[in-house]
């Protein structure tokens, strides 16, 4: 972390102003050399200066430069922000200039990494910033900002506080066994308290798992026999003619992807080649790929043809997806019904006609319903937004199960407390208040630290 890094920190080409941010021990010196105006090395911290960025004699842009000296900056290093006129060419030119004058291009998230390593922000904050960098939708962005503001940390901290109070009342009993002033904590009294903590934690986990799709999107695979209207459905959804739609069986051999935004939730759509036994090698590759995709999908939409009876092949597809979240979409309802609907009673079912634009809204609503999307989008954003945090919360929950088991086994309260203390520690790991070696491993993996 001895070098000085630079990056364009606003969206490129959008807006009237762009910011080029420089951080590191030589930040001020490097910018000053290219700056025509006051001597930036002599100005006080947290001030803004008007002038020009120049390359030798050539003026590149008229700019405002903010000088922020360590340690009161985002990275706790010297930071200079060059506010230049928006537009790709000018901004890039300033960036390139900085790169040739001693800065290194920042890796994605590197400012955050420095902020974290310099003790400016905690792990949840850091993760939230990383999330923010990678967000796809507005809802996810709100969630990340919420995390950055420390709401999640507070939520977890409150839960830990509740556990801590239970721990304290158990311990005071142990250390002062003969004092009647102190309420005696028993396993029986513990039961409702543990239940309450578990409930809160469960809610957080449930919400968090749903909200994972804010970031990751819902990976949706559309499957069906050839020519039942998979590609038409996809195209309709993305309003784009990405897939080739013909009446010849087996033309969609490649996996086609599109992305739609369903009330703020990214829905990545994958059209598949039909699943059928085939001798055509190219097509076979497509079929294998489809099966693999089904395994990885969050949601599978099985498209059936209203105009034909359920075939053996349809049944095979339904069998293949039985462990997945499935919507059966019966297409072509504008044609005569030959499909036995009774056989499909157990599935979330949509009747539609893509060609007549019928049933598409119902399909979208069904997706929202299945993934509790209304809950998320109207939620308070108090959820854990990455896999590490969710895994730790789940571990805490299962340790709390052990607490209950101990009570059921009539273990003495000080034994039961061992598990309770472990649950407390685990929750601490989420917000980085408990230091473990795993935490360090996590840091190394997430921020690729090295020599």
């Amino acid at each position: 972390m001895n070098d000085t890094i630079v990056a364009i920190s606003t969206a490129l080409g959008v807006g009237a102003i762009s910011i080029v941010r420089v951080s590191g021990k030589d930040a001020i010196k490097i910018v000053n050399k290219q700056f025509k105006g006051k001597n930036l090395e002599k100005v006080s911290s947290h001030t803004i200066h008007y002038g020009y960025i120049v390359d030798k004699e050539e003026v590149i842009d008229e700019v405002l430069v903010s000088i922020m000296k360590a340690p009161k900056t985002f990275t706790k290093e010297d930071v200079v922000e060059i506010n230049c006129h928006g537009g790709i060419t000018t901004t890039n030119k300033i960036l390139e200039l900085m790169l040739t004058k001693g800065c290194r291009l920042a890796e994605p998230g590197e400012f955050t990494k420095r902020a974290f390593l310099n003790g400016r922000i905690d792990l949840v904050n850091a993760e939230a910033v990383m999330d923010l960098i990678n967000v796809k939708t507005e809802t996810a962005r709100k969630g990340a900002i919420h995390a950055l503001e420390g709401h999640i940390s507070k939520y977890i901290r409150d839960l830990r506080q509740e556990i801590l109070e239970i721990l304290a009342s158990i311990e005071v009993n142990i250390d002062y066994p003969e004092y009647e002033d102190i309420e005696i904590m028993t396993n029986q009294k513990l039961v409702p308290k543990i239940k309450k903590v578990k409930e809160s934690l469960k809610q957080i986990i449930e919400k968090s798992e749903h909200s994972q799709i804010l970031k990751e999107g819902i990976k949706t695979v559309i499957v069906g026999r050839p020519n039942v209207g998979k590609s038409s459905l996809l195209n309709h959804l993305i309003n784009e003619d990405k897939a080739i739609v013909t009446d010849i069986e087996g033309t969609t051999r490649d996996i086609v992807e599109g992305e739609i935004n369903l009330d703020g939730i990214p829905l990545s759509l994958i059209d598949t080649a039909g699943i059928r036994t085939t001798d055509n090698i190219i097509e076979k590759i497509g079929v294998d790929k489809s099966i693999h995709l089904i395994e990885e999908a969050d949601l599978v939409i099985v498209v059936l043809n209203n105009n034909e009876p359920l075939t053996k092949e349809d049944q095979e597809i339904l069998d293949k997806v039985q462990n997945k979240t499935v919507i059966v979409a019966v297409n072509k309802i504008d044609l005569e019904n030959k499909l036995d609907m009774k056989k499909l009673e157990d599935y979330p079912l949509i009747q539609m006609s893509v060609s007549e634009n019928k049933g598409i809204e119902e399909l979208k609503n069904k997706i929202k319903e299945l993934f509790h999307l209304s809950k998320i989008t109207q939620g308070d954003y108090n959820y854990l937004s990455n896999v590490r945090q969710i895994a730790l919360a789940k571990e805490s929950l299962s340790i709390l199960d052990e607490v209950e088991q101990g009570i059921a086994d009539e273990m003495p309260i000080d034994m039961v407390e061992i598990d309770l203390k472990r649950a407390w520690d685990k929750l601490g790991e989420i917000i980085g208040e408990t230091y473990t070696e795993e935490l360090l491993d996590q840091l190394f993996s997430q921020f690729c630290l090295g020599k």
Partner: protein, 618 residues
């Protein structure tokens, strides 16, 4: 000129253990004390042990110290506490006879080879090149030694407080030590002022015991030492009694609050939160209608009764009024008034884990001078200081007990890592792995160390080895013996309130049932072993799951403990450490990442940065 290997300054509980350990390990040892009559004195409560503290006493015994054996010879009654809870938190407490206990200890000291006792006050230390050379007595006489252990208790600038009256003095009106703490300050120690207090003593015959509640000893008899059988008859135990403060008492206290040393602003020292004066209790817990007070006998040889829970620094006449407001004590005669005492202590973060000071080589400290309170805490440190001074003179590595090995380890690690702003008392809640630190297994944890060091003789060691072996035998036996759901088996199980079997079951698994003990197991198989062996087997089997969890947690801690920080690390070279963390790390100079992570003010992000730095240095 007089010359010794080790000089121990102070004859309290720390000093006794330190000098015994030193002399027993073959060092020519001198114990200097202000008054031989006060050796091993119990100036405060007449009891030894209790939660956590009782386990420290067992640990002292396992390592080869004296306290357990001494209290076995002088107890008035014993009680096992927390018997309704699990084995991890059970602890023994003895009421000790304040005449017999010091007498027995003095005899032991006098009969110990290599140990001399001298009555005098040490007022100065002789230090050359930051290395101790000996001590200078109040009469100016110099005594040379290779190492010195300071166990000065409350005597450094001791100041007794009663109401607005301040008297420079140790407990019992003994002379205080006036210059030694200035010497320490000049050498570079940070000196802090601490406070403790003690309640009034009442004349036994003036108490109306018919109005009090009887608190007898247990029906079972115990011994603290692993090598002793109980030394008393249960019917000979002297009981304690329980009385209560009341609204009237509390009104008197509130009316006179400003006259107490504490609330009148006459005290500089910081007192312990966990052991509040009665004024404190009344102020802080204003809604409590009454507080429990225990009447504890001090000795068979005189009539004083210790009024536990009534420590105060009120003037004498207010104390009279307060005491007489209590039912049963209406006519009680106060034989000795309560007082608070202030004294100088060092900042224990200036100590190494071995209890040698970082400031002066071969100078060790133990007990209240390190900021602790309690006889047991003092004795534990005294023993470790004695052992480590001796090991240091032999050029060997110190004995450092880990947090998962002993309460003594927790105690010392807390002191040297976190320091303390109030007198530090050991509580079970300070130990993260207390299931591993039990009363019953102190010998299994520590006897091996005691033997290696040379404080546990061959006879005791063989006895311990045999016990260990027997425990293993019984466990294996139970693992091999299977019972089947025969009619007679199930009838027996039902008779003892257990569920009948459906399949075969090993006795090992049967013992995991809460209602089954070794007694029930003996219905199926003869277990001709001592009770302590069977008790141990029961605990190890019944709680095996939890013990394993505790061990796993401890391993996590140890993995951080094993990342050592080089002694010569330059923290200033590590970029980006938070300012407070940098200061704390430079002051305390932890030896491992584990220790560093326990320093308050050093946050996980600082630990991350430090770890990254160490990895880079590789």
């Amino acid at each position: 000129m007089m010359q010794y290997d080790i000089i121990v300054v102070g004859g309290g509980h720390a000093g006794c253990e330190a000098s015994l350990a030193s002399a027993r390990l073959g060092n020519k040892t001198l114990l200097v004390t202000g008054n031989i009559k006060n050796i091993a004195d119990m100036p405060c409560n007449p009891s030894i042990g209790g939660p956590a503290k009782g386990i420290i006493v067992r640990e002292i015994d396992a390592l080869g110290g004296e306290m357990a054996n001494n209290i076995d010879h002088s107890s008035l009654q014993m009680k096992m506490l927390n018997t309704k809870k699990g084995p991890a938190v059970q602890a023994l407490r003895a009421q000790g006879d304040k005449i017999t206990y010091p007498k027995a200890m003095l005899e032991t000291l006098k009969s110990t080879k290599n140990l001399e006792i001298k009555e005098s006050l040490v007022e100065h230390l002789k230090v050359e090149d930051q290395k101790i050379k000996g001590v200078i007595l109040e009469d100016g006489k110099f005594i040379e030694s290779k190492a010195v252990i300071l166990t000065t208790g409350t005597y450094l600038k001791g100041m007794v407080l009663v109401g607005s009256k301040k008297t420079p003095s140790g407990p019992h009106g003994e002379r205080d030590v006036k210059f030694l703490s200035d010497d320490l300050r000049n050498l570079g120690f940070t000196i802090q002022r601490l406070k403790t207090g003690t309640p009034p003593r009442l004349e036994k015959d003036s108490i109306d015991f018919s109005k009090t509640q009887l608190e007898p000893g247990d029906d079972t008899t115990y011994a603290f030492s692993f090598d002793n059988e109980p030394m008393y008859q249960k019917e000979d135990q002297v009981p304690c009694h329980l009385v209560y403060s009341n609204q009237k008492t509390h009104e008197i206290i509130r009316a006179h609050l400003k006259e107490s040393s504490m609330y009148g602003g006459y005290v500089e020292g910081i007192g312990p939160r966990y052991c509040p004066s009665i004024e404190d209790k009344v102020v802080r817990f204003a809604d409590k209608e009454r507080h429990q007070l225990f009447l504890e006998p001090e000795s068979l040889y005189y009539d004083d009764i210790y009024l536990q829970g009534f420590s105060t620094s009120m003037p004498h006449e207010v104390q009279e009024e307060m005491v007489h407001s209590i039912v049963g004590l209406e006519h009680a005669k106060i034989k000795k008034y309560a007082y608070a005492i202030e004294y100088d202590a060092i900042d224990p973060t200036q100590l190494k884990q071995s209890l040698e000071t970082k400031v002066v080589e071969n100078l060790f400290t133990a007990g209240q001078i390190n900021g602790t309170s309690g006889y047991e805490e003092a004795a534990g440190q005294g023993l470790i200081a004695g052992i480590n001074a001796s090991l240091k003179l032999q050029g060997k590595d110190p004995l450092i007990l880990k947090r998962n090995e002993a309460y003594i380890g927790v105690l010392i690690d807390d002191l040297v890592t976190k320091g303390t702003k109030e007198p530090y008392r050991m509580l079970t809640s300070r130990a993260e792995y207390r299931l591993l630190l039990r009363h019953d297994n102190a010998d299994l944890r520590l006897r091996e160390y005691g033997h290696q060091i040379g404080l546990i003789n061959e006879e005791k060691y063989q006895r311990f080895q045999k016990k260990k072996q027997q425990i293993e035998e019984v466990i294996n036996l139970l693992k091999e013996y299977k019972i089947t759901p025969k009619k007679e088996v199930n009838e027996y199980l039902e008779k003892v309130g257990s569920t009948p079997l459906l399949d075969g079951m090993y006795l090992y698994d049967l013992l995991k049932r809460p209602e089954i003990t070794c007694k029930e197991i003996e219905h199926f198989i003869t277990l001709d072993y001592p009770k302590e062996v069977l008790d141990q087997v029961e605990i190890q089997i019944r709680y095996a799951g939890y013990i394993e969890k505790a061990n796993k947690e401890a391993e996590k801690m140890l993995s951080l403990e094993n990342i050592k920080i080089p002694v010569d690390i330059d923290y200033k070279k590590i970029k980006n450490l938070a300012h407070e963390a940098l200061q704390k790390l430079m002051d305390i100079r932890p030896t491992s990442i584990g220790q560093a992570s326990r320093i308050s003010g050093v946050n996980p992000s600082d630990i991350a940065i430090l770890s990254v730095y160490l990895k880079k240095q590789g």
